[in-house]
Subunit: 239 residues, 2 copies
């Protein structure tokens, strides 16, 4: 079975509702065969409320939603899932909960071996990559590792933000932070601006949405990609 991923930068785009900006891509991605999506609300504190938000939105697209925290056995819930959606919030809390509930390797297996479609947004996109080392979030809890589910062989920086030349703030820019990451690790980083998303189907990766993505390769100039770009080269280890 081929892997199928929809990795969205952000759950909400300024001026629109929850997942509105990517609802067509969600419907295209899950299609008509999927009836029920397993939602993972671990990134937010109030899991019931978060699941209701996701359920309400997915119902308008014709899909049922079950919250993984509602299942007696989360591993079994992943084993039975037709489709998985991991929502955004705090990436450290999300990854720690995934490990605490022992579902990291089961999700990997289901997606890579069984072809279960996986959608992530924001933190849910971070955890689909090699590691959470390029999250923007605060380390509010300590996960047992920064290694993530590893559905793709690179990292993503969601909510990617360009440097504001007029800023008087002296904290590191996003680009400086990613450069610091590349002082330690050579995994490349795809900066997904709000509004764009990556569709992966087997060994094909395509940028979708309304904004460009920026690719950071250690020691090389950054590259910009427009929606519609073929990014399949990112899926090979030696790009």
């Amino acid at each position: 079975m081929m892997r199928r991923l929809l990795l969205v930068s952000n759950s909400t785009l300024h001026g629109s509702g929850y997942l509105d900006h990517c609802q067509q891509q969600i419907a295209d991605f899950f299609g008509k065969d999927v009836k029920k999506v397993l939602f993972v609300p671990y990134a937010l504190h109030d899991r019931d409320k978060y699941t209701k938000t996701a359920r309400d939105k997915f119902q308008t697209l014709g899909y049922e939603v079950s919250g993984i925290h509602e299942a007696a056995d989360p591993v079994e819930a992943v084993r039975k899932a037709e489709a998985i959606f991991i929502g955004g919030g705090n990436t450290f809390r999300l990854l720690k909960s995934l490990y605490d509930n022992k579902v990291v390797s089961e999700i990997r297996k289901r997606v890579l071996e069984d072809g279960v479609p996986y959608m992530g947004s924001s933190a849910g996109t971070n955890v689909a990559t090699v590691s959470i080392s390029t999250t923007n979030d605060m380390p509010i809890v300590y996960p047992p590792s920064f290694a993530a589910i590893g559905l793709v062989p690179f990292n993503i920086n969601p909510h990617y933000l360009d440097t504001d030349p007029n800023s008087r703030h002296m904290g590191e820019t996003r680009e400086q932070r990613i450069t610091q990451y590349h002082e330690e690790v050579d995994t490349c980083v795809l900066g997904l601006r709000e509004g764009c998303m990556l569709l992966v189907e087997g060994n094909k990766a395509t940028l979708l949405g309304s904004t460009n993505a920026r690719l950071f390769n250690r020691g090389k100039p950054c590259e910009e990609f427009k929606p519609g770009s073929d990014l399949s080269f990112l899926l090979t280890d030696a790009h």
Copy 2:
């Protein structure tokens, strides 16, 4: 011996040079008795270059600087230090290096038991607190713990940034991130805006500099403090 700390939000203020905005406070803090400051450059990748930057600045204030990485035995360097300054950069890299070099408990001992003056800026301020859980930095490396040196019983968010009401970016604001931290932990968080710093002398804490600080207590409204404010209540466990 009483503890003496100077915890600076940011190393460089917009429009001025390295540590210029706090040079008077640095001179007042280290005073005439200190001759040499042990500098910890672990937060940046190029330790020699960073030490040169610190050395050049401190020389203009009348202090010698030795880099901890230049010592054959970093623990011994801490044991002999007259004064310690930990500079900013990436907080995860800094804390991991402090643990790797086994100096976390030695610095704590020297500052709390021997009264060695400790200055931190940005990441160097983060590591002086309870934990690095309220850093703004990317988790580019995995430290063995988020627990920090623990020179004060609360956390600090350096480079604290107010919410921009005109922003169209949908990533969490700084305040939302600290609120997420308080969903997990009840340690209070002092948001130090760029330009301010905290002076701790024994059980007395005073806000210095040119900007206000914002205090986050779990479940309570935020409080604003002006430079000159007495924040000694933060040093008692039951504030």
